[in-house]
Symmetry: C2
Subunit: 438 residues, 2 copies
């Protein structure tokens, strides 16, 4: 069956939201119309663009006659709805209305998916239509489709993602320019990589939403935003970054989703967002500036990495248009894409079960016997030591030292208990930082 | 429509070939049967494995009762045929027979696709069934699906691939261990990374087949193996590798597929395989050992990279099983995947049109005026110079020097003409190497 654009009625496409991404999606629909028609097998006809204000300034590629504030009517008249408004409402109601009316939906809305994905998947399933969301995770990088289709015959063991460009930019500036956190955030804001209110990024909420979506896909299990254990980058200092480098690491905010087994033999998944020391020779260490990357460890495939731009109008529009072509092809050729897969239904385990190496940095009295006392506390919790590095502090009056201990792999619970015990030792002045090591 | 394995008849799966990859595919079908059934919506029943010899030694996971030498009968009794024999015949006839009988086909056969893809695509199209081939390019790395689906709404400008693990391993050993080519190939053979006869790898034939497949997908244009301009790694020396490092590069065998426009304004594509100097800070420079990676530059998405294992039984089986689940889902849910897309039908341009920077290494007389004479020849062909580095040779009786010239971007045709003219200069003793720079 050859594709013959023109012989079929066009597909009616509605776009909800006309911000940076919406404008780029409209641009490609307008300027690449012939090429898209050839790829889909029929024309994609833009029938309306829902906006909050008809009078706002717009790029000239946006035909003002297509603007409407009546999103509700628009979604009921479309074959495919592209939701780019973001946020929970009215996006949620509009997506459900679209699915209910039999339209396919393409969305970039990670917050909505992480909070209420199962409701949306069920609505799409009931209507027998596609719900695609490649743009919701890691912008332009194809990761949703590879995980739910390419790796559909494999068993994903672990996913490690740099999925927030803002925090990666900030940490990269701290590493390469020696800035402190506040300076680096200001620089990122000045360059447009961070919002005026950077909370969602620097506190890890954005990364946590993406971690929940990826974990759900990879483990065929429902993982909600609340299931994600989240630590942002706000407590990190220039000294943390410098010590990372000195010990052969790069500090990255990682979204980690992995299969795990408790000490009692219960299988489950662990999903967390946390600043992590990545060895300098690991492929994720080289992900610079605002780039994103997702590293996947699968049983048969081994190690895979997907790298690219995680945000921005044009990159995100690439992912949206790819989904749009896919769902449109299904309309033309029949069939539909994969549905939600949650049959594995694994429990989400407590973060205490997470096993990792850790780097513990202490400020201690600089005198004999300190290391042996600290080491005894680690041994008491069965946390074994991979390496120790003691550096005298040359400032101040009294003799202090920095003690950097890297543990072998141990459960987070044991490391936490150890750190509490170590902090209580009289020779220990301060536990400066505790960071997992990849 | 929920997936309820068990309520549908199983899909009959035939595997052709039971070498390293075939055995791993069989292993996953056997050991992951329940999980695959949950993902597909029905069981995948292995109904037969076509082999050349019934008596050969096999892994114990292979049920000998399923072995048959009658591949022809087997393919006619299956819903899905997995072709892992390799080579042109009998693979070609069996795939066509399977498609003709209405079976979907999953194949890892890059040689067959590069040589006769259009015939196979047409047969699949006529029968209305899927022909999937993720495993044919870059092993476990999802690249076929991302290019033909994720980037279906974007315009790919250029693809740069390290798609042959053997040559990457060899070049990596030459770089890190200072081996010469012959030693490095022997080491790769000893470790199982190179065949006893390494010709297909070291001469670039394997990479060229993959380049043809990727270029066809990316540019919606038929590109055959013969369209690929091919240079292998056999002429490379330890000195080439050392000079690459000294000038801030890593030498890689790259498959390059790009859109181009001739001086006369004709649009087309260029597809080639060639040793290339990759700047040390480019993501492809960090691809070590036998790993593969494909770097994509797309109009909207910007730069993307896909990284992972390009060969081996388990990694390749991951790609095969992913395809198997996809085509099986289509059988269960209806519909089918994308068909061949060759509507753009761009001409394949002559390699002389390829524009790149080049590094030219010369052995010259070490005396005043040499550089000006060489520079004059470049200027005569409108090839401008980005940098020059002259190093006296300390060995030998007469005074010679190594002159390393890096050009600005210029057409290959002009650089070739320049090099011929330079070689004819009396002060030039030898043109040692001419390599493109990424």
């Amino acid at each position: 069956m050859a594709l013959t654009p023109g012989s079929r009625p066009p597909l009616r496409v509605a776009v909800l939201g006309c911000g940076v991404v919406g404008t780029e999606v409209v641009r490609r629909l307008v300027t690449e119309g012939d090429e898209l028609a050839a790829r889909v097998g029929t024309r994609l006809e833009l029938v309306g663009i829902a906006v909050r204000s008809l009078d706002a300034e717009r790029d000239e590629v946006v035909d003002r006659d297509l603007l409407t504030t009546d999103a509700d009517a628009l979604v009921r008249s479309a074959d495919v709805v592209v939701e780019l408004m973001g946020g929970i409402e009215p996006a949620r109601s509009l997506v459900l209305a679209a699915l209910g009316a039999g339209a396919c939906v393409v969305t970039a809305n990670k917050a909505l998916l992480a909070q209420d994905g199962p409701t949306l998947y069920a609505a799409a399933d009931a209507a027998g239509v596609d719900l695609y969301f490649e743009a919701a995770v890691a912008g332009a990088i194809p990761i949703v489709r590879p995980v739910r289709e390419s790796l559909a015959g494999d068993t994903v063991q672990r996913l490690l993602g740099i999925v927030n460009g803002t925090t990666n930019y900030v940490l990269d500036s701290m590493t390469t320019e020696g800035l402190d956190l506040e300076q680096a955030v200001k620089e990122a804001q000045a360059l447009g990589y961070a919002e005026a209110d950077p909370t969602a990024d620097v506190e890890g909420y954005d990364a946590a939403a993406k971690a929940a979506i990826l974990a759900s896909l990879a483990f065929h299990t429902r993982v909600a935003l609340d299931d994600v254990d989240r630590t942002g980058i706000t407590a990190l200092t220039a000294a943390d970054v410098a010590w990372a480098e000195r010990t052969g690491h790069v500090l990255k905010l990682l979204a980690v989703a992995e299969r795990a087994r408790t000490a009692e033999g219960r299988d489950g998944v662990l999903v967390r967002v946390q600043p992590t020391l990545v060895p300098a020779d690991h492929p994720l260490a080289g992900v610079r500036q605002a780039f994103n990357a997702v590293f996947v460890e699968a049983e048969a495939a081994g190690e895979l990495m997907f790298y690219g731009r995680g945000a921005g109008g044009a990159p995100t529009s690439s992912a949206v248009l790819g989904d749009l072509v896919s769902v449109a092809r299904h309309r033309v050729l029949g069939g539909k894409g994969p549905v939600e897969s949650s049959h594995a239904d694994l429990p989400v385990l407590d973060r205490g079960e997470a096993r990792s190496r850790y780097q513990v940095r202490l400020e201690v009295d600089d005198r004999p016997g300190v290391l042996s006392r600290v080491a005894a506390e680690l041994a008491a919790q069965d946390v074994s030591i991979e390496s120790v590095r003691q550096t005298p502090q040359l400032t101040g009056d009294d003799a202090s030292a920095t003690l950097v201990i890297t543990t072998h792999t141990a459960p987070e619970r044991a490391v936490r208990a150890t750190v509490e015990a170590v902090a209580a030792l009289p020779v220990v002045r301060q536990v400066v930082s505790v960071l997992p090591v990849l």
